[in-house]
Amino acid sequence: MNIIVCIKQVQDPDIPPRDFKVDEEKMQILPPANVSPVISTFDENAVEEAIALKEEHGGKVTVITVGSEDCKDSLKKCLAMGCDDAILLNDSCFENSDAFGIARILAATIKKVGEFDIILCGRLSSDWGFGTTGLALAEALGLPSVGQLQKITVEGTELVCERALEDGVEVVKVKTPCLLTVSNEINTPRLPSVKGILMASRKQLPIWKITDIDIDESKIGNSANTLELTKLYKPVFTGNCEFIEDESLEEAAKKLAMRLREDKII
């Protein structure tokens, strides 16, 4: 079972709100000082699932990302977790591509990588959260897609996929090759082992440029984007919380109940 995982490296989404800064003029999110970027949350679930499937059914896991040289760190982490190969797509003409542009770059890359059974992606990135790259990639490659999975079971050349819904589960059977997206319900990503980290540090990490893949340059980069950003800011919350206090917490609780009654909230 050969699996390709597509990941995105993002600024750590779990930083405290006060460290989250926006340059409104330049319409940019400012990276916090001394916090390393991470693999986008659900993409890490995709990496874990790929490795778990490989461990059970054999095969190979290749992880791909499009981004700056820094993204090597996230790819190395994937190798340390247990992925076999990693490819970084890095070229100035890839910069500022939207999800559709990234999907085109990934599609061209995957065509060159060769045969695969499953492509795994996180269903939504932790940063700009368009939830589009994976599904657009399926469209670009003409593959069936099943989104938002909480469980994948292999049955020969078919996969039984459980989709996590708002109020339940939906079970769909799909033939390989296919593209699947996952989120946090599916697993808990492992920590890389010491041995894994050592092995990853010795692995070659190829960097592919636009000349390495077959792609129409006019369909990627900022000029190909179909949306423009017109404003970016931090929302402001007033914080008029009235703290209820009394002799004891039990008394404060009673006071709170009375207050909610007076306000006709209950």
Partner: protein
């Protein structure tokens, strides 16, 4: 390209889903701005046609119905073909879906196929110079972005649940009903729908609840949710949870309130041991009154709360439950 706005209506059981009403409301407004019609596509098994009257009363001018067995239960490949057929036939200016497990699964593929723009999880939509503009909270709600379509092709957006009001119902409003002009692509299908299993939550559904009691990491363990359940019983409230509590395996994922969970809009939201991370507040933010109980006075949840108590919930919740019980008996 026409001046029409197309919406993807959704059903729950044999009824229209609430999101269909929210989509109709904004869809009507956008179609009026463009001077076009509001067209709704609805897919489902035999009998789905019966829902078209309801859509028309919500402001839809034309309902396109695809009544086929393959639409009984959602599979991406069949829905994609059905919806693509409607997009091709009606060539809308704008296509709106709800940010649901169906809407967000369909829209990116349709967008890529049609070289369309796609704004996901929008809380406001409007036009400027005939281009679709959207407000999208990003980074789990830590920042707000405004985007504008720059394509001459189709513009697509998905709408966040409860961000916009439902459409007014106009009884007796007239509209057209047309059948989806669609034939399945020949050849074997790569995908088949097996089953749907509802996870029955006891009592009130989170999304419908007037009162929600939610617990987070601060509860310290699965067993401690029983305190919240008791409070919930007294208040006839639904019980929810933060991502931390779900990730810890204390409660099932269907209880999660937040960006990747449910969006709730109760009259009262009681957050217990929840710090108030942005991604949680995306889900709890539409609540009218938030009460926060937390040991950390600096927790961001208090910035969003109307009332707060700083302290150990194990002392507060039982007293609160008892007092509510007493008050509600009178």
């Amino acid at each position: 390209m026409s001046k029409d706005v197309l919406i993807l209506a959704e059903t729950t059981g044999d009824k229209l889903a609430l999101v269909s009403s929210e989509l109709s409301g904004i869809g009507r407004k956008l179609a009026d701005d463009l001077g076009g019609d509001l067209v709704a596509i609805i897919l489902g098994p035999e009998g789905t046609k019966e829902l078209s009257k309801g859509l028309i009363s919500l402001g839809v001018d034309k309902v396109v119905v695809g009544e086929l067995d393959i639409f009984d239960g959602y599979t991406n490949s069949f829905y994609l073909q059905g919806i693509d057929a409607a997009v091709n036939e009606f060539s809308p200016h704008t296509f709106l879906v709800a940010n649901t497990s169906i809407g967000r699964d369909i829209a990116p593929r349709i967008a890529f196929r049609h070289d369309a723009s796609y704004a996901h999880d929008c809380t406001e939509l409007s036009y400027e110079d005939g281009k679709l503009c959207a407000v999208r909270p990003i980074w789990g709600g830590s920042a707000i972005s405004h985007v504008k379509s720059k394509t001459e092709n189709l513009s697509i957006a998905s709408l966040r649940a409860k961000a916009l009001p439902m459409a007014d119902i106009i009884e007796g409003r007239e509209g057209d009903l047309v059948e989806l002009n669609f034939s399945m692509e020949s050849g074997e299908t790569q995908m088949s729908f097996l089953e749907a299993k509802k996870v029955q939550s006891e009592g009130v559904r989170l999304e419908d609840a007037e009162i929600v009691v939610s617990g987070g990491r601060g509860l310290g363990g699965a067993e401690n949710f029983s305190h919240l359940e008791e409070l919930g019983k007294v208040l006839k409230a639904a019980v929810g949870a933060s991502r931390a509590a779900v990730d810890a395996g204390w409660v099932p994922t269907q209880m999660q309130v937040g960006q990747t969970g449910k969006i709730v809009s109760p009259n009262l939201y009681i957050a217990v041991g929840i710090s108030g991370a942005m991604q949680h507040m995306v889900g709890a933010g539409p609540s009218k009154n938030i009460v926060a109980i937390n040991t950390d006075a600096d927790a961001p949840i208090f910035q969003r709360a109307r009332y707060g108590i700083v302290g150990d919930y194990k002392k507060i919740i039982p007293a609160l439950t008892e007092k509510f019980e007493e008050l509600l008996q009178n």
